[in-house]
């Protein structure tokens, strides 16, 4: 046992292959859904302005044709992952295309998009195509029946980190002691059959908050432990279907329901694959094609890595997981209330933690003429962008800079732009979030703490401090 068991011991390649198929499949579905919703146009073609990530200003939309092509490449790559067809190329292309799209505009940031980027990065590294794939049909010398156990365990670890950090993030006073924001969100679905009427009760919100925190913190351990695994998976399905019914969170529940199957045993995945092969052979017979899969006999070959390859992989993975552990904790380096400033908020698996709404008015003053006016935000931003911008200080600054550029183009060389941004957090009364006296054109972007964010009056000291009204 020991580390060797978790890293280099040979395990069946079936779980990895199944993971590849399921992840590829759900990505194909997600991309088709995204396109059918018209979001490629809506989010990446229509807007005039995009909120770039600091340091990634070079990631810009590729124009209408370009964006549709990029999604086409992404979709084909997802199919390639699912079928294991030119898998490595597909995985690399998918990772690049997906991450590029996500980096275009932080308005669209979702933790589950980040999750997809990370999983597809890990998929580049693992040999998920060397079993039950079109690649092994194409080149039978690729086929192996076992893989080093680390290739499966890194996926388990990654999923575990996601859940665990999501659980940790819920250990805050608003979530636990005020049942916020669920108290605000649940009644929205009071019209649902059966559970609907229960959602109007405050106690239901508490029950959901505590259950949710408990689930996120411990589900992975119950999935890892064989005697509890089946029950835990029932809980996974119930939990995610419930969130899918109650909240508008798109594909995320289904992605998680499929991905968590990785915790199941080798035998389970081998049986699944046997079923799929059976299904395929029926199709193949119907098409009167005799393919290798119908009379499949697994070759007893295992995959071993060269010394230099293992060294490189070790470095990459250690670095990756070190970042995965540290990045969600970076908030501790900033003063103030994390939910208010959102400094160090993204990329930390903080899911559904706050109800934030805002209204930002930008006051412009032409220092040469002394004239002042207000900006019609909606003339520059899509409704979604305006909504996201009005609660997030870094986006407010970016928008102010964008306005400054626009006015410069119109020949107004020296304008002052001040933001009057009222924001409400978890149902409390709205307060000013940005110092309304600060000329934002004089402030710069960056990772350092932004002094022009007004402190949150209820809780200035610590993230875990009292959040009471």
């Amino acid at each position: 046992m020991g580390m060797k068991e978790y890293l280099t011991s040979q395990k069946s390649a079936a779980p990895l292959a199944m993971f590849r198929v399921l992840f590829g499949f759900i990505m194909v579905v997600s991309i088709i859904r995204f396109a059918l919703n018209g979001w490629i146009y809506e989010l990446y073609v229509k807007p005039d302005f995009f909120f770039t990530y600091y340091g990634f200003e070079w990631v810009t939309p590729l124009g209408e044709v370009g964006m549709y092509l990029l999604f086409l490449v992404m979709g084909l790559a997802a199919v390639g992952i699912m079928l294991g067809y030119y898998y490595r190329v597909a995985a690399v292309l998918f990772f690049l295309a997906f991450s590029y799209v996500e980096l275009i505009d932080k308005t669209n940031y979702l933790n589950h998009y980040y999750f997809v980027s990370i999983i597809s990065f890990l998929l580049i590294i693992v040999p998920a195509h060397r079993y039950f794939s079109l690649d092994v049909m194409r080149r039978s010398d690729l086929e192996v029946s076992t893989v080093p156990s680390w290739t499966i365990n890194i996926l388990k670890l990654q999923l575990g980190l996601v859940y665990f950090y999501a659980g940790l993030a819920k250990l805050n006073p608003d979530w636990l002691f005020n049942a916020m924001p669920l108290k605000l969100w649940l009644p929205a679905n009071a019209h649902l059959p059966l559970i609907g009427p229960l959602l109007e009760y405050t106690s239901t919100a508490y029950l959901f908050s505590w259950t949710g925190a408990f689930y996120d913190l411990f589900i992975v351990f119950f999935l890892l432990y064989k005697p509890t695994r089946k029950f835990a998976y029932v809980a996974v399905i119930a939990f995610h279907l419930m969130t899918s019914a109650l909240f508008q969170i798109g594909m995320f529940p289904y992605i998680m329901i499929l991905c968590t199957l990785i915790y199941f045993s080798e035998e389970f995945h081998e049986q699944c694959i046997a079923k799929l092969r059976e299904l395929w052979s029926k199709v193949a017979i119907w098409k009167s094609e005799v393919t290798g899969t119908s009379q499949h006999t697994s070759k007893k070959r295992s995959l071993t890595l060269s010394k230099s390859a293992s060294t490189i992989l070790t470095v990459v993975l250690v670095l990756h997981f070190l970042l995965q552990v540290l990045v969600p904790l970076r908030f501790a380096l900033y003063p103030g209330n994390l939910f208010w400033t959102e400094e160090g908020y993204r990329f930390s698996w903080r899911v559904m933690l706050m109800e934030k709404a805002g209204y930002a008015t930008f006051h412009v003053r032409n220092s040469e003429t002394g004239k002042s006016w207000e900006v019609s935000n909606w003339e520059h931003l899509t409704p979604n962008q305006e909504k996201m911008m009005s609660t997030q200080p870094d986006m407010i600054l970016q928008f102010a800079h964008h306005l400054e550029d626009k006015y410069k183009q119109q020949g107004l060389e020296d304008v002052e732009i001040k933001a009057e941004a009222y924001v409400t957090l978890n149902g409390r009364r709205s307060r000013l979030m940005i110092d309304p006296e600060v000329d934002l054109t004089e402030e710069s972007r960056g990772f350092e703490h932004k002094e022009w964010i007004l402190p949150y009056p209820d809780n200035q000291k610590s993230w875990l401090g009292s959040n009471s009204r």
């Binding site: 969100w185 029950l207 589900i219 508008q248 109800e355 006016w373 709205s430």
Partner: protein
């Protein structure tokens, strides 16, 4: 659903129950929310929205009748009746313009009836050529109430002069035709919307009151009503009626011609009627003066009585500020814009109360666009 995940969640359930027991004060305070949202929606549907459309429909019938009478016999007296019927219709519109969702959205009621300032050169060229289709995008500012405002108040210096354009002018017949076509256009749009809402028509009222739309999620009746109200308040009331003419959106350059009833000179009266309609909506007061549950009570039931009071106070202050301005608003903007800008600020304070504080307490999301969250 919860019962299926018994093995794992029993502990959590027990833990939470124990916890809830110890937190009694909070759950009494937060309360099981007994507010009857369905009753509020029913009040809005039956006593505010539908009657608003029916009143507007009546007003457009009168408008059509008096226009026919004027064309039959163009005199200063028939003109003045027509002018006052136009004003009555525009005032009735102030009760209905808030609800741009459902049928009103499908027939693009607001853009058809009230895009201003009117494009007077487009109107003139339509009349001269006699070749026009009302309802196209290029004619958006050549139709509706603002076009009537121009046709009945703006084409001559005096009523006498206007009458002569319709009676003995070179293009008298063309002016008459355009006037009538435009009124028919308005009436058609209003009829379509009112019929769609009515029980003996499309019965959108039933959809609005249906159980499946009784939540506060995206697409629910309350969600649509709040989104429509907030959007209307922000863009079409605060900006359209006050902010834009006062120059708030044009780098400080005043635009008095952009007032709602520029030629008729009663823009403020319309603005005031609109704000009062918004206030009645908040209070749950029907058009006929009936009083029932509204957003005010909904906020109170959600422990936000303070917010509710503040919204009422701020609206009262805004009403007072509007009352202190003088019609014609364009004249006030030209001669003394400072009070108009101050009124704009009063109106501005209400936006955040409605759009941020109120929606957050109600659990309604401002979503003018469809997207996933997490």
């Amino acid at each position: 659903m919860i019962s299926h995940i018994r093995p794992i969640l029993t502990v959590a359930l027990l833990g939470s129950l124990v916890f809830l027991g110890s937190c009694k004060s909070d759950s009494i305070n937060g309360g099981e929310n007994n507010f009857d949202r369905a009753a509020m929606l029913s009040n809005y549907g039956n006593n505010t929205i539908l009657p608003a459309y029916l009143n507007l429909q009546d007003a457009t019938v009168s408008l059509e009748t008096s226009a026919d009478a004027f064309i039959e016999d163009p005199t200063e007296s028939t003109l003045s009746i027509l002018q006052s019927d136009l004003k009555a219709a525009r005032l009735a519109w102030q009760e209905a313009n808030i609800f741009q969702f459902g049928p009103a959205e499908s027939v693009t009621l607001r853009a058809s009836l009230n895009t201003y300032p009117a494009d007077t050169s487009q109107i003139k060229s339509n009349i001269e050529s006699g070749d026009y289709t009302l309802g196209t995008i290029e004619n958006r500012a050549a139709v509706g109430f603002p076009a009537l405002d121009f046709l009945l108040h703006g084409i001559g210096e005096s009523n006498q002069e206007i009458v002569s354009i319709y009676s003995e002018g070179e293009l008298a017949a063309s002016f008459q035709a355009y006037l009538q076509d435009n009124i028919t256009f308005i009436k058609q749009k209003v009829d379509d919307t009112a019929t769609e809402w009515s029980a003996d028509g499309g019965n959108y009222l039933a959809t609005f009151l249906s159980e499946e739309n009784a939540g506060t999620d995206v697409g629910s009746s309350l969600g649509m009503l709040i989104n429509a109200t907030v959007l209307h308040y922000e863009r079409f009331f605060r900006d359209g009626k006050i902010g834009i003419p006062a120059g708030v959106r044009s780098a400080g350059v005043r635009r008095p011609v952009a007032t709602e009833a520029h030629f008729g000179g009663y823009s403020l009266e319309l603005a005031l009627a609109n704000l009062e309609a918004i206030q009645r909506l908040f209070k749950g007061a029907g058009i006929d003066g009936s009083q029932d549950v509204g957003l005010e009570e909904n906020l109170e039931a959600l422990d936000a009585a303070e917010l509710s009071t503040e919204i009422n106070t701020e609206i009262d202050q805004a009403v007072t500020a509007l009352e202190e301005l003088n019609d014609p608003l364009s004249g006030q903007i030209e001669s003394d814009n400072e009070p108009v800008l101050n009124t704009f600020k009063e109106l501005q304070d209400i936006v955040r109360l409605l759009k941020v504080d109120m929606t957050s307490v109600l659990g309604v999301t401002i979503t003018y666009q469809d997207n996933d969250g997490d």
